[in-house]
């Protein structure tokens, strides 16, 4: 039995083997973590993300390239807006924080330099800066700090847009987004995504705070900064992320430990994109996935998994809601044959309801009207 100290090294070694020799790891970001947490039953995603496999490259190598991409217009605007919000030592940003969150007027603020070598170095630098800022009793703006979060046994490094330390020692996560807030309201789907992302940062900050004495408060209201109406002026809104935080925390805890998934794999499995497609496909198939249509907007591998789910005739490919209606019947053929009376236990309430539904549907489509 390996000594505990080498366990971490052994896992890292194992994950590097899975990734393939000479393939640099793809770092996990908050968006990926939030997406991962939204489908905690998917071992495939957990393992690939944990091992730092570039899923976009993998999807292309499998012949089902992902359709994610960002328009350079959106990218440019996003960057320009963030720069504008943080201009002048973050004066505008701190004004917004003060306006929405209270506290003394931010006449002066410190913006510590967080540069360091490597993500570990930047994380340590951030932790130090957070401690100093908390003790200083003034406003501090941390521009692109680096935080670490343990995810299913491997470390993820996260980079929030900004973290503000209040004079009372409290910490607030700031999320800067380029979608507009028109008349004080923004697209709920986008706000939801931003909140889930910020919840991940809050979780990571809470870990840093827990190591300080006394532990500073990490605010559960984050500041979402967006362009106001149709202008390029920033406006902000405090978003309560307690719900997202507890959901994400629970889902991250539910993620099966990557080690356990890796241990279940047959030996010699590797996800290097240089491998021939058949071998690669077999490697991917050896890790079970939990495909649902929601994956299409969150996972690079979704088209591949969808194809497989459709080949198997899995009913979840049509939506998670469907699954609940159909009880133990999980494939299209088994549902239809049960509905047409060719299989299934007539005493099973799900089968009985199906047959009645099929009969009513047939009657409505072919038979006489009902009034």
């Amino acid at each position: 039995m390996p000594a505990p100290a080498t366990r971490g090294t052994a896992l890292r070694q194992r994950l590097a083997e899975l990734r393939g020799p000479a393939v640099p790891p793809q770092p996990l970001d908050a968006r990926a973590l939030a997406a991962l947490a939204s489908n905690p039953g998917c071992k495939r995603r957990a393992l690939l993300d944990g091992a730092g496999v570039n899923k976009a490259t993998l999807a292309s190598a499998l012949g089902s390239p992902s359709a994610f991409g960002q328009s350079q217009f959106a990218f440019m605007r996003g960057n320009a807006f963030e720069a504008r919000v943080k201009a002048d030592g973050g004066a505008e940003l701190l004004r917004l924080v003060h306006e929405r969150m209270g506290g003394p007027a931010p006449d002066e603020a410190r913006v510590p330099d967080l540069a360091a070598v490597g993500p570990e170095g930047r994380t340590a630098r951030t932790a130090l800066a957070l401690r100093e800022a908390t003790e200083s009793g003034g406003w501090t703006l941390l521009d692109h700090p680096m935080l670490a979060l343990d995810v299913a046994g491997s470390s993820a490094f996260l980079e929030p847009d900004a973290v503000v330390v209040h004079p009372d020692g409290g910490w607030t996560v700031v999320e800067i987004k380029s979608f507009p807030m028109v008349d004080g309201s923004a697209d709920p789907a986008k706000v939801g995504a931003a909140a889930r992302q910020a919840a991940v940062y809050v979780l990571a900050l809470e870990e840093v705070a827990a190591r300080l004495h006394p532990a500073p408060a990490v605010h559960h209201r984050i500041l979402l900064v967006c362009p106001k109406d149709f202008s390029n002026l920033p406006t902000a809104s405090a978003v309560d992320i307690r719900k997202q935080r507890s959901v994400t925390r629970r889902q991250l805890a539910r993620l099966t430990r990557i080690e356990d998934i890796a241990d279940d794999l047959p030996p010699g499995i590797c996800f290097s994109p240089d491998l021939p497609p058949t071998e690669l496909s077999a490697a991917v198939e050896s890790v079970p996935a939990a495909y649902a249509p929601e994956c299409l907007s969150a996972c690079e591998l979704a088209f591949h998994c969808r194809e497989r789910a459709r080949e198997r005739g899995a009913v979840t490919a049509l939506g998670r809601a469907l699954r609940g209606e159909l009880g133990g019947l999980t494939t299209v053929d088994s549902v239809l044959s049960a509905a047409h009376g060719e299989s299934g236990d007539p005493e099973d309430p799900a089968v009985r309801a199906l047959r009645r539904a099929a009969e009513l549907r047939r009657e409505a489509l072919g038979g006489p009207g009902c009034h």
Partner: protein, 534 residues
């Protein structure tokens, strides 16, 4: 999702073709709808890139903003859009018939009938998808507070004259689209997926190309294959063969084709401005025109497939027979249109940024009422939808096997016949539960009396008919079901009552923010910044 529609989706998977989810068309379709296929610039709020718009499927009008971040070019686009949309709206605003409406007399407080105008038809706007509806709202919001040079001669960047008016109309249409069952502004994907069940999830149904591929696949291919290729197939330049229905464009299009074209346009513009003499200016103007044509061609290449797809979808919907209650709901849309026409002619200010408490409560109450109305009417018009309600225990159909005459206990006994129905459905009937059936277009009420056991596969229910039998001692002919009749009763009401009356806005209680106060004659325009875009 009800089990019946789930089955339809599974059958679609097995057959490779979309299956009917309705047997009638439940939305009004105008003879001459205005189709709008807008494209927007990624990352910018309300910065259109272009649009195809018009009522003639063979001759859409192409509108393009060659540099979406240029405010003047954007205004020119919006002015052109107003030139297409407003004359179309005007043709409908002019033709009105007289109608009666109940209004409260301000002096006596009594309900009186007033003669008012009702437009005989209303303009209908059709966009490809739900995102298109949201974009119409956003465009409306971005325009309705703008000031024209006439309103404010001093202000910089005045809007072209008819742009604020277009903003008010688009806002009205966007707002009306939130009322269930309304058809003033339709998102084609939503209407199509109401009527057909595909072999993919409802998320994937939001892709117009894929949805149409399932409903009407090209000869020799299955819906699944056609949908997959509509979603993913790319040409040799890496561009989607079936461009997204917008308003968002594909990032690959933005990065590989659009960005270089816009850059060429910008360069040509700078060069033209720097021209030293007339001859050079002519050459450079030609360059600019060529660059602009390049962008127009790009925008047309991304919108034309969607334009054609929208009309194909309209054809498919037209082939379905219209549901019996669709005209009734369209009349409500005509009232809505007429109401807004009157507010515009009366010179009222544009819709405010935020609704006051009373208006907001009224809007919510309307949406709830219309949702209930829509659900009831769709079920009554369509046996397939009724089947879903029957499966859910909210309705039942069966054969009348006995009718016993009975009378009420009052001084003037009225007929209250007892009808025994045998049904294989399992309605959730409790003691004296009210049920309704259609009788000559009106609902007839009955109440559940007792359960009389099973007969074969069916259950026997005794109902007491309560109304619509006339004033006499004997029920009018045809008003009571007879033995052997097939009847269908619902547990839900067919007609919706209005909710409790809300106070006038001036009487808003303090719990709801108090009276909105004097509304400023016209709300302030959005502040103009040095540059709108970043």
């Amino acid at each position: 999702m009800s089990l019946i529609s789930a089955l339809a989706r599974l059958e679609a998977v097995q057959t490779g073709r979309a299956q009917p989810a309705a047997t009638a068309r439940h939305r009004h379709l105008s003879d001459r709808p205005l189709v709008l296929v807008p494209l927007t610039t990624a990352g910018e709020a309300g910065a259109p890139l272009g649009a195809l718009v018009g009522t003639d499927r063979d001759a859409p009008r192409l509108l393009v903003v060659p540099q979406p971040r240029d405010r003047d070019l954007r205004f020119a686009f919006l002015a052109e859009l107003a030139d297409v949309v407003l004359p179309y709206i005007d043709t409908y605003a002019e033709a009105a018939e007289s109608a009666e409406r109940n209004e409260t007399d301000p002096e006596t407080g009594k309900r009186v009938k007033v003669e008012v105008e009702l437009c005989s038809d209303a303009p209908q706007l059709i966009v490809p998808s739900r995102a298109g509806v949201d974009y119409v709202r956003l465009l409306g919001r971005s325009m309705r507070f703008r000031r024209t040079a006439e309103q404010e001669p001093e202000a910089p960047h005045p809007a072209p004259p008819r742009v604020p008016l277009l903003g008010r109309w688009l806002t009205h249409y966007g707002e009306r689209a939130r009322v269930p069952g309304s058809s003033l502004l339709l998102a084609l994907t939503e209407v199509l997926s109401r009527h057909w069940a595909t072999g993919q999830s409802s998320l994937e149904d939001q892709h117009l190309g894929a949805l149409l591929a399932w409903i009407d696949p090209p000869d020799g291919t299955s819906g699944a294959e056609a949908a997959l290729s509509a979603e993913l197939a790319r040409d040799e330049r890496g561009q989607l063969r079936c461009p997204p229905a917008g308003p968002a464009t594909d990032p690959a299009f933005d990065n590989k084709l659009l960005a270089p074209a816009i850059e060429r346009y910008d360069r040509a513009r700078t060069r033209l401005a720097a021209a030293e003499d007339g001859l050079q200016a002519d050459d450079r103007l030609a360059e600019l025109t060529a660059a602009e044509h390049g962008i127009r061609a790009l925008v047309e290449s991304r919108t034309r497939p969607t334009w054609d797809a929208v009309w194909r979808g309209i054809d498919l919907l037209r082939a379905l027979p219209e549901g019996a209650h669709v005209a009734d709901r369209w009349t409500r849309d005509r009232w809505s249109f007429t109401g807004h026409r009157d507010r515009v002619t009366a010179g009222e200010p544009p819709q405010p940024r935020h609704d006051d408490a009373v208006t907001a409560a009224n809007k919510l109450a309307t949406r709830e009422r219309e949702q209930a109305r829509l659900e009831a009417q769709e079920a009554l018009d369509d046996p397939l939808i009724m089947a879903g309600r029957r499966l859910a225990g909210e309705a039942f159909a069966g054969e009348v096997i006995d009718v016993v005459m009975a009378y009420s206990d009052s001084k003037r006994p009225s007929p209250r016949p007892l009808v025994t129905v045998r049904t294989e459905d399992r309605p959730h009937l409790g003691e004296r539960t009210k049920v309704y059936r259609q009788l000559g277009g009106k609902p007839q009420a009955a109440e559940f009396v007792r359960y009389e056991g099973q007969e074969g596969a069916g259950a026997l229910f005794v109902l007491r008919i309560l109304d619509k039998m006339g004033r006499g001692k004997e029920p009018e002919a045809g008003s009571v079901p007879e033995k052997g009749d097939h009847v269908c009763f619902t547990l839900f009401e067919h007609e919706q009552r209005g909710g409790a009356k809300l106070p006038d806005p001036e009487e808003t209680p303090w719990t709801h923010g108090g009276p909105p106060g004097e509304r400023t004659e016209s709300p302030l325009p959005d502040p103009v910044t040095e540059e709108d875009a970043l």
